[in-house]
Assembly symmetry: C2
Homo-oligomer: 296 residues x 2
């Protein structure tokens, strides 16, 4: 999708925009943006994940994750050809999926191997939907303004100690991402306090509060996994993330610029400034100043 | 220390055996083994970590982690030339150490860079103690019987699904270890439920209970970090680990054979059998049968 001739636009596609909605506010934001642009939308809310308050203002239906046949049926009924997968879904086990007939057929195509990693499964789902004739857009492709840019976003910026933590966090998040686990970690004074697996960022932040050392607080680092399909499950930061980070005694949040969704950029910045946190978009491939400070 | 001419023996060395004691029961077991063999011991209990019930039957003194001068003084006073570092110590921050004069001198030698990883610091401590004229033994060198061997230890053994989880866990623990973080993770049906950082295995097991999926339970995998100095902080499994693993709904525990301390082997096996868990020593460099089952 990178380097494509034109950025897909929610106003240009044919038919309705199908939104496969996990948790959080972003599915509603995408739906609103499309509707405001005059394009019809249809939302499939994943049962147990999609938030009613977020999707109930739009045409929608709740569907079990495993009920792939029902999903395809609904998407065709509502003339959806372009799809967006957006909002976190807690990774299901193969057994808890309880696939319907279509789901079983798709699972056979995907293969159980796809269950040995988060991206494995999501990438397979995108591939299969593509084979079914749908075009899959990334949330960041339909709402470019949501992608956090490089550099400081908040009033505060990281000091030398925070940069040390950020560089350590990049190293750890990369290693994790290389085996397709998690997207984040928390580092304080060089110590890796917590590493994210399926529990999610909020739960990781909650436990970091009890693991913090005296002295300057740590940093939450969130990166895109190397090789991650950017149409699925991009790291997301919202105002709630900043509140939780402050509650854990952190001094700031560093996210991968160009690869992280800020659910409400203005509210994120306002929360960061109110709570005295920095919010910084990093390019993990570039050594940021003052990198030399971290090698002392 | 590997491949040395002779295994150091607690009965052969000169002077008393100095035991630098963190938490858990192993410091007491090492002290008892040495005393039973007729060698005097002196225990330095790290304040806030060493358990009074474990070390108070032996000549001992509590010392703050940062009070390196006091430690060296005590070790010399009690004629300790051979040292064992044993029992977990929660990783301190540079600031919380509050080093004494000697501690400050040693810290200057170690350099703050050592604080950017668990082993970095421990390896530096071992190096500095060596320069001070001490010989550092590993707990496994003084108590060879404590090292878990390869193969099945319990009555139950891993089935094909558990082997899939074990192989995924090896991959993840290796990636983590390569950046000097943690020693363990929990995998269920191919899903990495939790990854260990500073919180320790018990806390990781506690949270895994709430993250488990329906269906067959997961596996705890503990490995030595690649390049880890085996005289410091080897992965440890005790009967409590097995109780916590059962509480988290796991089906078994896989540990690195030859690199993991079983605090009380008989009790570990008894608990595993009582709780219906497998306990298995793996060689992560060798594909264990039935490895082919995991690629389906």
């Amino acid at each position: 999708m990178k380097g494509g001739a034109a950025t897909p636009d929610i106003r240009v596609g044919q038919g309705a925009l199908g939104i496969l909605a996990g948790g959080g506010p972003i599915p509603g934001q995408v739906a609103r943006a499309a509707r405001d642009a005059g394009r019809p939308v249809f939302v499939i809310g994943f049962q147990g994940f999609a938030e009613p308050a977020v999707i109930e203002n739009f045409p929608h239906e709740y569907v079990r994750l495993g009920a792939a046949g029902r999903m395809l049926e609904l998407l065709r009924q509502h003339d959806c050809r372009d799809l967006v997968l957006v909002g976190p879904v807690r990774r299901p086990s193969l057994l808890s999926l309880r696939p319907d007939a279509e789901g079983t057929r798709i699972l056979a195509k995907i293969g159980a191997a796809a269950f040995l990693g988060d991206d494995g499964m999501l990438a397979a789902v995108v591939r299969v939907l593509g084979e079914e004739g749908f075009t899959i857009l990334g949330a960041h492709e339909v709402m470019e303004t949501m992608l956090g840019a490089s550099g400081v976003v908040s009033r505060l910026k990281p000091d030398a100690a925070a940069w040390g933590d950020i560089h350590r966090g990049i190293e750890v998040a990369r290693a994790l991402g290389s085996v397709d686990v998690g997207q984040g970690c928390i580092v304080q004074q060089g110590i890796v306090l917590a590493v994210e697996a399926v529990e999610g960022t909020d739960q990781m932040l909650a436990r970091a509060a009890g693991l913090a050392r005296p002295g300057p607080g740590g940093v939450l680092i969130k990166l895109v996994k190397p090789g991650q399909d950017r149409r699925t499950d991009l790291p997301t930061i919202g105002p709630r993330t900043l509140v939780a980070a402050a509650g854990a005694g952190l001094r700031g949040v560093a996210f991968e610029a160009g690869g992280t969704l800020l659910t409400d950029r203005a509210a994120c910045v306002a929360e960061a400034d109110r709570l005295g946190l920095f919010l910084f978009g990093i390019d993990p491939d570039v050594a940021h100043a003052p990198a030399q400070e971290t090698d002392r």
